[in-house]
């Protein structure tokens, strides 16, 4: 047997094996890619609910009297805009304005914040943030003591009401609250996710996450809740046109070139990292933009790295692609020359040497009905 690099195991590892999950290496972790099947799990999240293990994601706590102004120097967005109990999508940029990571930050109290970062960037982020640290700010990586689950889908709230009949209150969209589900153990519940559906992300101490996993699956079963893996997480986020760091987001590209310019605030008083370059870029004009597309016909799915042309002239590249289980056809995200990056524009995608027609679209491709 070839020597494998050692992978982190989720605290839910034995739960996944009991469910006969197919495991895959992901961002240094061994995680479930699917249980019964990606398409089936995808539909469950769109119609009922799915439960994801997201223990691989990183959690940082930032606190102290100068936390707010420090965060405004190391993150692209303006944390002054969020009150305790609220969240914000934001970015860690390098000094060239390239995206190191995208994340949600939660303001827990005035001086206490929680950041949920991508597993693949956890150590890099921590080292980078640590280098920028100033007095009166405390940065802690609490990932190893934090277990996390995402319950996603239209029946998520109903499932939690059944699982926790004593809970009178659940957070509203984009909000977070402390949750006293396990006597005194520090837990949080947030109304958020990465699927385009209603749903919750729940943080509990690592040693309690299996208990929470089993309880939600047990109470959710009759409502159609199933365990869901990374495969469905990818198809769901792609339909919702949510970018994935490493595919669609990259240190070589700025937020404006990545459809996440809304997470950049030039209005805040602090000079955040990357600000000058972004200012210049905005003034000079953005060369490339990230935009979703759909294939015009059923057929071979587009894949990351395929090149895109118009009348034989190369105009961009597919950054993420696949088959949409909801639409039954190929979809993706592409980085395209700005002047043609408009919804309705016809493009050709080079699939194994053939030009296959596709059309640029408005994001998101999939939007849940209210």
């Amino acid at each position: 047997m070839p020597e494998k690099p050692s992978l982190h195991l989720s605290p839910l590892d034995s739960a996944h094996r009991k469910l006969k999950a197919r495991m895959t290496p992901f961002a240094g972790w061994e995680m479930p890619v699917q249980y019964e099947g990606i398409i089936q799990e995808h539909h469950a999240v769109r119609k009922e609910a799915g439960l994801f293990d997201i223990c691989h994601m990183g959690e940082f706590r930032v606190s102290g009297p100068r936390a707010e102004s420090w965060l405004n120097t190391v993150l692209s967005n303006d944390v002054r805009q969020i009150n305790p109990g609220e969240s914000q999508y934001t970015l860690i940029l390098n000094d060239r304005g390239g995206i190191i990571d995208d994340l949600l930050i939660y303001r827990i109290t005035e001086q206490d914040y929680l950041m949920i970062v991508n597993a693949s960037r956890r150590e890099e982020n921590y080292d980078w943030l640590k280098e920028q640290l100033t007095d009166n700010v405390v940065l802690e990586d609490i990932s190893s003591q934090t277990g996390a689950l995402a319950l996603q889908g239209p029946l998520s709230l109903e499932i939690l009401e059944r699982a926790f009949p004593d809970q009178k209150q659940f957070p509203k969209n984009r909000k977070i609250m402390k949750w006293d589900i396990f006597d005194g153990a520090e837990s949080y519940i947030a109304r958020s996710g990465y699927t385009g559906e209603d749903g919750f992300e729940i943080l509990v101490p690592t040693e309690l996450v299996t208990q929470l996993w089993d309880l939600i699956l047990d109470k959710g079963k009759t409502l159609g809740c199933v365990p869901t893996g990374l495969g469905a997480r990818d198809t769901l986020r792609l339909e919702a046109s949510l970018p994935l760091n490493g595919n669609d987001l990259d240190q070589k590209f700025s937020p404006f070139e990545s459809a996440v310019g809304f997470a950049v605030s030039f209005d805040k008083p602090e000079k955040f990292i990357g600000r000058e370059r972004l200012r210049d870029q905005k003034a000079a004009g953005i060369e490339r933009k990230l935009i979703p597309f759909t294939m015009d016909q059923k057929g071979a799915p587009p894949r990351s790295g395929y090149s895109i042309a118009i009348k034989g002239e190369e105009v961009g590249i597919v950054t993420s692609g696949g088959v949409s289980p909801t639409l039954g056809q190929g979809i993706g995200l592409a980085r395209i020359k700005s002047e043609i990056a408009k919804p309705g524009q016809a493009i050709d995608i080079d699939i194994r040497g053939r030009n296959v027609p596709a059309t640029l679209q408005t994001r998101p491709l999939y939007r849940k009905s209210d």
Partner: protein
Amino acid sequence: MSYPDQFYYTESHEWVSLEGDIATIGITDHAQNELSDIVFVECPEVGKSVTAKEATAVVESVKAASDIYAPVAGEISAANDELENDPALVNTSPHEQGWIFKLKVTDPAEVESLMDHSAYEKFLKN
């Protein structure tokens, strides 16, 4: 699912069923299970000549595209048009309705040098 004992098998998990000099080729139950949800199959053009181990068809699962190799040399004599509308046949009936292409083989003896079902099952165990 069992592996038919009249088939031949490759290390890249294709099966071959030989009748005269016409070989029918598909992917094994093991392969379809590994790939899981198959969403598209690109079949080769009829009349095309292929060499042994040449990438000849493409099977796309939700996650990725995988090449399917010609087990032996020959000329493509048919492609399974049913897969255009229902690529999942490769998952539900890998050894029958989910066949991918047929090959008029140059040398039928070449097919007999492939693994038989018991050799393939042993190969899977290792």
